[in-house]
């Protein structure tokens, strides 16, 4: 059951094209950053991880937008509520598909971008690991805020203002993971994702219930 729902969601996400816009913005913004920052190598190396996380969290809003609108409008969520799959599980599966389609490509290209900014192999690996540990929280939070705004026309604007402040812990610890001592920041990123995992599916399910009841 979860498998077929995951397949459906993944297909919809991949065909929606949001992931491509998100990946394109991420790569382009990072590639163009040196033009704005100048050619100072030390500066670029220092700014790289922070820039990466900032553009990642902004571009992910493109990729994670509109996960529930169609299902609220056409009644897809009514069907899920009338199935033996608990709604929080359905929401978690939807968010997981969002992470695979929007966040995973960013995680995969991040080492390349970090090397381009002059990171050592060690820092590049730690930075990518940081994205791997931190982006699940972003996907879960964006999915939850998306569920809250699902009934609102043009919910994207709200998503930006509501979700970005919640991304703060990732913006603080994410860049630190590509720094000198990656241990603690990586653990904190993982903890942040686990905390989101424990809370978000239930909040999202409640939001959907409130809006479709």
């Amino acid at each position: 059951m979860t498998r077929s729902l995951f397949l459906r969601e993944l297909r919809l996400r991949l065909r929606g094209g949001g992931w491509a816009a998100s990946l394109g913005l991420f790569v382009l913004a990072c590639a163009l950053a040196p033009l704005g920052l100048g050619r100072d190598e030390a500066l670029l190396r220092a700014a790289g991880p922070g820039l990466l996380w900032l553009t990642a969290s902004l571009s992910l809003l493109l990729g994670l937008d509109g996960q529930h609108e169609e299902d609220v409008r056409a009644g897809g969520l009514d069907l899920l509520r009338l199935s033996s799959l608990p709604l929080p599980v359905s929401m978690l599966v939807k968010m997981a598909a969002g992470w695979v389609s929007a966040c995973l490509p960013l995680v995969l290209v991040s080492p390349v971008l970090l090397f381009a900014f002059g990171a050592t192999p060690m820092q590049g690996a730690a930075g990518a690991l940081g994205l791997l540990l931190g982006t699940p929280a972003l996907a879960l939070l964006a999915g939850t805020i998306g569920a809250l705004c699902a009934g609102v026309r043009r919910g994207t604007g709200l998503l930006v203002f509501l979700a970005l402040p919640l991304f703060v812990p990732c913006l603080v610890f994410g860049p630190a993971a590509a720094g000198e001592a990656p241990g603690a920041p990586l653990l904190l990123l993982g903890a942040f994702s686990l905390q989101a995992l424990a809370i978000c599916p239930f909040v999202a399910a409640g939001a959907i219930r409130a809006q479709t009841t």
């Binding site: 077929s4 919809l12 056409a74 509520r81 199935s83 009841t213």
Partner: protein
């Protein structure tokens, strides 16, 4: 509220009547469904036993859809909605998770999936075998077409496929005839009759128009 007492029900008995497979019954006692916090209909009282069907009729805004959604647990309501099986009262959340189909105009379709992919998703969700269900609703030629490109009638037929796919006792049909051609209507009636012959329940909300044989009618007044 004009809740007219219905006719006594005689379940249709085709010569080769299959054995009764459902034993669910539904009781609504003085139900008043709410839409956006407002009571849209009052005093809805009826009981449906295995094989029975109820037609909800009334003008737009009289609360037909809200009654169906309240029975499905998707709308708040005052009053009592109870389910029972042969053994006694049944847990409403268990019944709604396993034994209720809601057919509504949106059909829960996603425009970017093909008809075939939609059916496989449902088959997975309901742990059923998709089989030749697309052929049974006459959508074989449209199997690979994206749902967003299907016509209104084809979308309704795809919705019907969900009813055929997974056996569930209670069917809540919201305007099931809209958008269907004569052949589609015929298919719908045959499907509903076969469902009732197996002891299934059907509650249908329609404006005016033809009605299935031996179905009670509950008229809702304009709000």
């Amino acid at each position: 509220m004009a809740a007219r007492p219905g006719f006594p029900i005689t379940a249709p008995e085709p010569p080769d009547a299959p054995a009764l497979t459902y034993d669910l019954s539904l009781t609504c006692d003085d139900v008043a469904p709410l839409r956006a916090g407002r009571v849209v209909a009052e005093g809805i009282t009826f009981t449906l036993g295995p094989g029975e069907a109820l037609l909800l009729r009334g003008p737009n805004g009289s609360g037909k859809t809200s009654v169906l959604r309240a029975v499905a647990g998707l709308a708040r309501c005052d009053g009592r909605i109870g389910f029972a099986r042969a053994g006694g009262a049944a847990d409403p959340s268990e019944v709604r998770a396993c034994d209720v189909h809601l057919l509504a105009p949106g059909e829960g379709l996603a425009d970017r999936l093909s008809a075939q992919e939609t059916v496989s998703f449902w088959a997975g969700l309901y742990r059923a075998d998709a089989g030749d269900v697309l052929a049974r609703v006459g959508l074989v030629s449209a199997a690979q077409t994206a749902v967003g490109r299907l016509s209104t009638g084809q979308r309704r037929r795809l919705g019907l496929a969900r009813l055929l796919l997974s056996p569930r006792a209670l069917w809540l049909l919201d305007e099931p005839l809209s958008g269907l051609d004569d052949e589609g209507r015929d298919l719908l009636w045959r499907t509903v009759q076969a469902h009732r012959a197996r002891g299934g329940l059907a509650v249908m909300a329609t404006h005016e128009g033809d009605s299935p044989p031996h179905a009670r009618t509950l008229r809702l007044a304009a709000a």
